[in-house]
């Protein structure tokens, strides 16, 4: 391939990538998820790959309490919950609690998610939901958006991580940790849903 041709091809590649990225950034997405899984209902199963290509399914974690957070390293509100989520994962790991991150944002590629996760020391699995198929299935619309699933595979809590008003300041009520504690103690979850602001999941 001549030097000129190589430059043309790489230039075109950059142009196409830039345009595609800008379109995604500028347009976001006007579509919304439809069916929303609510507390008491069975959490639909998934088969999604982690950042190293290993496939995970919800069925793999049967008998455990599972915390699923729809996340995005490009959303400050989602990033803001990471220190508390990492701490929660470590605190309850030996009590049979599993934390899983799911990134359904179309513009977020595996490499950038992996780089961020390594920088932040995220040790729990982060799964890439290609084409937001699973987000659509459970009706997830924003990041962060959390589902806490009990040992029987039913949703025990759905909503905000906590009641923060500022992306970087933890809220006063840790909804997710409260739900986990209640499940571990065999008590009902006092607040099974809590709405909160978050960044729209950028869909396909």
């Amino acid at each position: 391939m001549s030097k000129t041709r190589k430059m043309l091809v790489s230039g075109a590649g950059i142009g196409v990538f830039t345009l595609a990225w800008m379109c995604l950034l500028m347009l976001g997405c006007g579509s919304t998820a439809t069916a929303q899984v609510e507390p008491g209902q069975a959490m639909p199963d998934f088969k999604l790959k982690d950042l190293n290509g290993k496939e995970h399914s919800l069925a793999d974690y049967k008998g455990k309490i599972v915390v699923i957070e729809f996340c995005s390293h490009n959303c400050p509100y989602s990033r803001g919950t990471d220190p508390q989520l990492i701490a929660l994962a470590e605190k309850y790991a030996d009590k049979g609690v599993v934390v899983i991150g799911i990134d359904s944002n179309t513009p977020n590629d595996v490499e950038s998610i992996k780089k961020y996760a390594e920088e932040k020391g995220k040790k729990y699995p982060i799964l890439k939901d290609v084409d937001n198929v699973y987000a659509d299935k459970v009706g997830a619309t924003r990041t962060p958006e959390v589902f806490v699933i009990d040992k029987e595979g039913k949703v025990a809590y759905h909503g905000a991580f906590d009641d923060r008003k500022n992306p970087e300041k933890p809220g006063e009520t840790p909804y997710v940790e409260n739900a986990v504690k209640a499940l571990l103690d065999g008590k009902p979850v006092e607040t099974p849903t809590a709405k909160a602001w978050g960044c729209t999941i950028k869909r396909k």
Binding site: T4, M7, L8, G11, A12, I14, G15, T18, L19, M22, L25, M26, L27, G28, C29, G30, S31, T32, N74, C75, P76, Y77, T141, R142, A160, K165, N166, P167, K169, K195, A196, W197, G198, C199, T200, I201, K202, R203
Partner: protein, 177 residues
Amino acid sequence: MTFTTRKFGWFALAGIVSVLPVFSCSAQPPTPEELKNAKVETITVASVEQKLKEGNGKVVVVNLWATWCPPCRAELPDLNAFYKEADKDKIAFLSLSVDDAEEQEKTVRPFVAKQHLAFPVYVLKDPDLDELSKKLGVELDGAIPTTIVYNREGKPSKPWVGGISKKELEDLVKQNL
């Protein structure tokens, strides 16, 4: 370098330069003049109803956003262009920010100033989702940006969740004019 390559090089450079404002809009702090001209006000959720009523007889566009939300920031140039061209006798625009109201002078005002937003931005104190949903007459799930268009009788459209382009907003408004 051949003529074609050179031409493409200029094209690529122009492309990159055109993208730069998206990344660098907050690189330089706003000037005192820009800060002074920024129309930012803090309001309670209770007063949102009144703000909606002020648009009685007009099509009202409500946009919910925050400075920390990337897709919200991305759609603002389109919303700004829409507002500047809109017939203000027929269309009202209500921009509601869910940023932390206590920190709005450090976050929202500089952002609005730098973006030269022509419309006033109202920062909500304690934006409780259920309360705000009641005031706006729609079911909000917390995902932003969200845009709602009210027809001249005050009936809301289904909330548009996610970024909206100028063309998409114009089409929504036309359906309600």
